[in-house]
């Protein structure tokens, strides 16, 4: 019984005959046929065949009335939703049927009807939806599913009538605070508020009290995975810890969620913990380890999730001077089978993780990638090596430089292009260090083709002409295809020829610069280039007239043509405010682009850390304890505060026979940090001793 034929375009009349056929006899085959006909309608709507399907409205309505089969109802609602938002005309006809379903005793049908009401943007539908939600809230005995649907519906209704929704805020707040309620409903209510606050930049950010926050997180274990994630997401910035103990307790409660299998939960837990760490002054090494390990574990997920995690790792590495995470570089080594976007991002992580200790390891890897078959990858690896040379200290630069020289020997075309480009940057940073290798580099003059590398080569030749007795020949070579070169190369040739002339005012350089100037003025079509050449020409004429031919040129001319270049620096650091916002957006799309939402869309709300007496002004002041010292201090406060806040343990979470024993043990276990995470090296010793392979 394939639906294949269903998925083709039909005319309204064809389906109509299908539908009418079966009213005569009530055989089961005809019932199937009728249902197939209905399915054809939906398929055609999916295909965009709206006009034809609109004609079938009377048939749909007749079925809606008589049929109480659930699937048919579903199709009717689907029809109403799809066409209702496109053709508002028909909505009035549909409304009574939807309302009839809303009154049904069948909860599932009610949910469906409510969703249809909300989906169709017509005033009469919206009003009915509000009416229903208000009456339902007042009854307070509706089922979980229905209540949740109603709460989520408010997010949608808010687009249509914001004021009416704000009137309901008090009731929603009450829902969050009612402990007796199903926690899933509490979360739905919280999420609704959160989502509405996020939508309106003119509203203050959502805030809930520390007490209700504790109430909620203590019921984490009763929630399903998606609700857990929603809760943790909404709590970030919504709850403001007032004391260090608040933050520590919250961290303790949510930390186990890092072991959840669902990445959504893990990343949101992660975000929440990172957020809370702004409200403490020290953190135990144990927590850092747990955070780091959970990140590493996420790298085994599906590529898309891995990608997201890696992007967030970059963010976290950038966000503090001393990274909060302790990650081993080997996890970021590129695998042969990784998709390209993962390779790319791993490369970026490696770059950020590099320091004196890890450099040799990373360079070895990068060398591998640089000779990779994938051209993009190879280029990026070379770029990374060059950037590392600029980023790290002089010794590191030497290592990088030597590696690049070694790679240059392969002589593969695109490798050479890329290496020459990055050499320029290294030479800018260390102008005097690598003079001895200039000759080696200049050998590749013939190989440079791409504008960037050609520009780089021209710059290198000009800058280090002192060390090149044959600089004129080399420069002539670069100049040979002037008319075919792209504009940026032409500019750089023009500028460099003048520079050479000023450095060595000999007849050869005069000839050279004169040729270039003439070509620019006489032959080139681009007005900017011509203007620049004319400017140089006049400057030189001016200088010549004042001081005689080839004499020392005017200082100001020097400054214009060949002034000292500014230092170069890699802009790996972002603005602290931006970083703060990004850290609150862990796991969102923003974190992929590493751009603050407010920069891209004005309309988005900027997240910021709410004020609190314990807000840590400077992130980098957060100290990492190497022992479990603070967790012992906390054990006392926790022992005092926790039982008070958890008067009832949920039965499911702690089977009855265990609860009493538990009380005694809890202290001892929470005072010693989790023993799960230990050094793999220790384990290895044991493993290898006990189990020789």
């Amino acid at each position: 019984m394939s639906d294949q034929r269903i998925f083709t375009r039909y005319r309204a009349s064809e389906i109509r005959t299908d539908l009418q056929n079966i009213d005569i006899k009530k055989l089961k085959s005809s019932a199937t046929k009728r249902k197939n006909a209905l399915k054809k309608i939906i398929a055609n709507i999916s295909l965009g065949n709206y006009g034809e399907m609109l004609e079938l409205l009377p048939e749909i309505l007749s079925f809606w009335q008589i049929e109480d089969d659930f699937e048919v109802k579903r199709i009717c609602h689907e029809y109403a939703r799809s066409l209702g938002s496109i053709k508002p005309k028909i909505t009035d006809d549909i409304l009574p049927f939807v309302l009839q379903d809303l009154k049904s005793r069948n909860e599932h049908l009610q949910i469906m009807a409510l969703r249809t009401l909300v989906f169709i943007p017509s005033a009469s539908f919206t009003n009915e939806a509000f009416k229903f939600i208000i009456s339902m809230v007042n009854r307070r005995n509706a089922s979980e599913e229905l209540t949740k649907t109603a709460l989520f519906a408010l997010i949608q209704l808010d687009d249509l009538n914001h004021n009416k929704v704000t009137d309901l805020f008090n009731i929603i707040h009450d829902t969050i605070q009612q402990r007796s309620d199903n926690p899933s409903i509490q979360v739905a209510a919280l999420h609704t508020l959160y989502a509405i606050h996020e939508k309106h930049t003119d509203m203050k950010p959502l805030q809930i009290t520390v007490e209700s926050c504790f109430d909620l997180v203590e019921r984490l274990s009763e929630l399903n995975e998606w609700d857990k994630g929603l809760l943790l997401e909404a709590l970030t910035t919504a709850v403001v810890p007032q004391t260090h103990a608040d933050s520590y307790d919250l961290i303790d409660i949510v930390l186990p969620q890092l072991q959840h299998v669902n990445t959504f939960v893990v990343l949101n837990t992660f975000k929440f913990v990172i957020y809370l760490l702004n409200y403490v002054d020290s953190v135990s090494e144990n927590i850092v380890k747990r955070l780091s390990n959970s990140i590493i574990a996420l790298l085994n997920k599906a590529p898309e999730l891995q990608f997201l995690v890696l992007r967030n790792v970059i963010l976290l590495l950038l966000s503090r001077e001393k990274p909060l995470l302790d990650l081993d570089v080997s996890y970021f080594f590129v695998e042969f089978n990784d998709p390209i976007y993962i390779k790319d991002t791993k490369l970026e992580c490696l770059y950020l993780l590099a320091n004196q200790d890890t450099l040799s390891q990373i360079l070895e890897e990068l060398e591998q990638y640089a000779t990779d078959i994938d051209i993009q990858m190879s280029r990026k690896a070379i770029r990374a090596i060059g950037n590392l040379a600029v980023k790290l200290d002089e010794n590191a630069a030497t290592d990088c430089f030597n590696l690049l020289l070694h790679l240059l020997e392969f002589g593969v075309d695109y490798v050479v292009q890329e290496i020459i480009s990055v050499f320029r940057n290294i030479l800018r940073k260390y102008p005097d260090k690598f003079r001895s290798s200039i000759r080696e580099i200049v050998k590749y003059t013939d190989a440079v083709q791409e504008p960037e590398s050609k520009n780089a080569m021209i710059w290198i030749v000009t800058q280090y002409a002192d060390f090149l007795p044959d600089y004129i020949t080399v420069f002539e070579k670069l100049n040979s295809s002037f008319m075919e070169d792209p504009l940026e190369v032409q500019f750089s040739i023009l500028n460099s020829s003048i520079k050479l002339f000023m450095k060595f005012p000999t007849p050869e350089t005069k000839q050279l610069s004169g040729d270039v100037l003439r070509t620019c003025v006489d032959m080139v079509n681009n007005p900017d280039l011509r203007a620049r050449a004319l400017m140089y020409q006049r400057l030189i004429q001016l200088a010549n007239s004042q001081y005689g031919p080839y004499a020392a040129l005017d200082n100001s001319l020097h400054e214009i043509v060949d002034s000292n270049l500014p230092l170069i620096e890699l802009n790996s650091k972002l603005d602290p405010l931006v970083l703060e916002e990004l850290a609150l957006n862990i796991s969102s799309v923003t974190s992929v682009y590493l751009k603050p939402t407010s920069q891209i869309f004005r309309l988005n709300r900027t997240k910021f850390l709410p004020q609190s007496p314990v807000l840590l002004a400077d992130k980098n002041k957060l100290t990492i304890n190497d022992g479990p010292s603070f967790s012992r201090d906390r054990a006392d406060s926790k022992a005092k505060s926790l039982p008070k806040r958890t008067p009832t343990m949920s039965d499911y979470d702690k089977p009855a026979e265990k609860v009493n024993q538990l009380r005694g043990k809890m202290k001892s276990s929470s005072s010693s940090p989790s023993k799960l995470v230990r050094k793999p090296s220790m384990l290895m010793k044991r493993l290898s001793m006990k189990r020789p392979f």
Binding site: E107, K148, Y331, N337, D372, N571, K654, K665
Partner: protein, 481 residues
């Protein structure tokens, strides 16, 4: 002095339309996915479910162009695209794309990706394979599932077992549906229980639980035998066929789990020195990093007592997974020696060694050796197994059905290279890949000590079963230099 900034290498800049007037300025920003689409391999939509009315209907029409544009420009297509303020997040499965569109950057990407994967998982249980054809054939059921699993862009129930109770695959058989009509329409009781992943009225004649412990080894080695990276990824899979609401307790010889009991011991006889207990008792216990549990495991209980307790969902599920990053010795090691005499021939010598216990045997060993694309006329010499040249993939595959521990096998191959051709063409650095399975063995040494099954009401007899297997992961490779 002003400092100039260098661009970090190609970071992902949102792909924006050039003309700012094109930007759809939505007055409403939502933080969840607004729609989910199933698209074919080119990116054209097959099915759509719009959860919110805040993105233009035409938004998805841009998706195929975005894909092909990016593929043309760079060969780099990240799983998030941004266009006109719309965020396209997608995953690929077989020949379909699952695309979620959100209209704001603050949309939670982790949630969306996790949901899309869950959706594929759920659909896999309904349709066997999730591909273009099966999606077209079963669109009604997919619509139903999309309705149930997500509400206004917020994920809802995603447990297949729960969904199957009221979305049945045979729903198009009207007779059956009509009979069940009243039951089917009501959401099952279990939805409102605190145990959302199991319904109460499950019955089996014979109560059994099967545990599979599967360890995958990922290793990256150099030709010289240097180990660049190694890790063990473990999974504990459970197939539960148990009646009622059983409460299970799993004991594993993990130190993290067992040290708790040891603490108890040392508390009992307070004089006992900690040192002796650590040396004597902990020897047999291994230690797992990064445990991840299925949602049924009581995490808080695990946190405080280090005991894994859970009420399992019915049927197959993954109870937990873990990761150990330790430098282990390669289980199957190959000494590779490849000599390329350019323009004439390539010689490959390979000596494989099973560095596992004498008692164990590796099965289905495959050593996949890359050869140049233009090589031909292979000649092989080998002691064991079989060798095949697969020209489509440009590899030689050496298969050894069973490879006992401690044994050493070798092979040599020679292939001709064309006499003309580009000399010193840039070679693809493909690694040698090794695949294997070692039954009844776990590399980490993890062992199940007990699995207690307790159903408070029914008190039936139950049978737990355990199997162990170690296998190569996706990346068990030797890099060639």
């Amino acid at each position: 002095m002003k400092t100039r900034h260098l661009k970090l290498f190609n970071s992902y800049v949102p792909y924006q339309s050039e003309n700012p007037r094109n930007l759809v300025t939505n007055k409403v920003i939502s933080i969840m996915a607004s729609a989910v689409y199933f698209c074919d391999s080119k990116g054209y939509p097959l099915l759509a479910r719009r959860y919110r009315d805040d993105i233009p209907i035409s938004a998805i029409e841009k998706f195929p162009t975005l894909l092909s544009d990016l593929e043309e420009e760079t060969n780099l297509v990240p799983p998030c695209l941004s266009y006109n303020g719309m965020q396209y997040l997608f995953i690929q499965h077989n020949d379909v794309y699952l695309v979620a569109i959100a209209n704001s950057m603050s949309a939670n990407a982790a949630q969306i990706f996790a949901f899309l994967y869950k959706l594929v998982d759920v659909l896999g249980n309904y349709l066997k394979t999730v591909e273009e054809e099966s999606i077209r054939d079963n669109f009604v059921i997919i619509y139903e599932l999309l309705d149930e699993t997500m509400d206004y862009g917020i994920p809802q129930i995603t447990e297949t077992k729960m969904l199957k109770q009221y979305i049945t695959q045979k729903s198009f058989k009207l007779v059956k549906a009509a009979k069940k009509k009243r039951n089917a329409a009501r959401p099952p009781e279990a939805l409102t229980n605190s145990v959302s992943w199991r319904s109460a009225d499950i019955k089996y004649k014979k109560n059994e639980a099967f545990l599979d412990i599967i360890e995958s080894i990922n290793m990256l080695m150099t030709q010289k035998g240097q180990i660049l990276r190694s890790e063990i990824i473990g999974e504990v899979k459970v197939k539960s066929r148990l009646s009622g609401m059983p409460d299970l307790k799993l004991g594993i010889n993990d130190k993290g789990i067992f040290s708790k009991h040891m603490d108890d011991d040392s508390l009992n006889n307070e004089g006992a020195s900690v040192a002796s207990s650590t040396t004597d008792k902990k020897k047999n216990n291994i230690e797992l990093e990064d445990l991840k549990f299925h949602q049924c495991v009581r995490l808080s209980k695990f946190e405080t007592e280090k005991i894994i307790t859970f009420i399992p969902p019915d049927g197959d599920f993954e109870l937990m997974n873990y990761r150990l990053s330790t430098s282990i010795k390669p289980l199957i090691w190959c000494d590779m020696n490849i000599q390329v005499h350019s323009q004439s021939r390539i010689e490959i010598h390979c000596r494989a060694k099973a560095q596992i216990k004498k008692k164990s045997t590796a099965t289905n060993v495959q050593i996949i050796i890359p050869v140049p694309e233009d090589a031909d006329t292979p000649e092989f010499k080998y002691s064991h197994g079989s060798i095949k040249y697969v020209p489509e993939k440009n590899v030689i595959i050496w298969k050894i059905r069973s490879f006992p521990g401690g044994k050493e096998y070798s092979m040599s191959a020679q292939m001709q290279l064309p006499s003309i051709g580009n000399i010193e063409e840039h070679k693809a650095k493909r690694p040698v890949q090794i695949k294997f399975q070692i039954p009844y063995f776990t590399t980490s040494g993890i062992q199940v000590k007990y699995l207690k099954i307790n159903e408070p009401k029914l008190q039936y007899k139950s049978y737990p079963w355990v199997r162990y297997i170690t296998q190569s992961g996706d990346d068990y490779t030797i890099r060639l230099t």
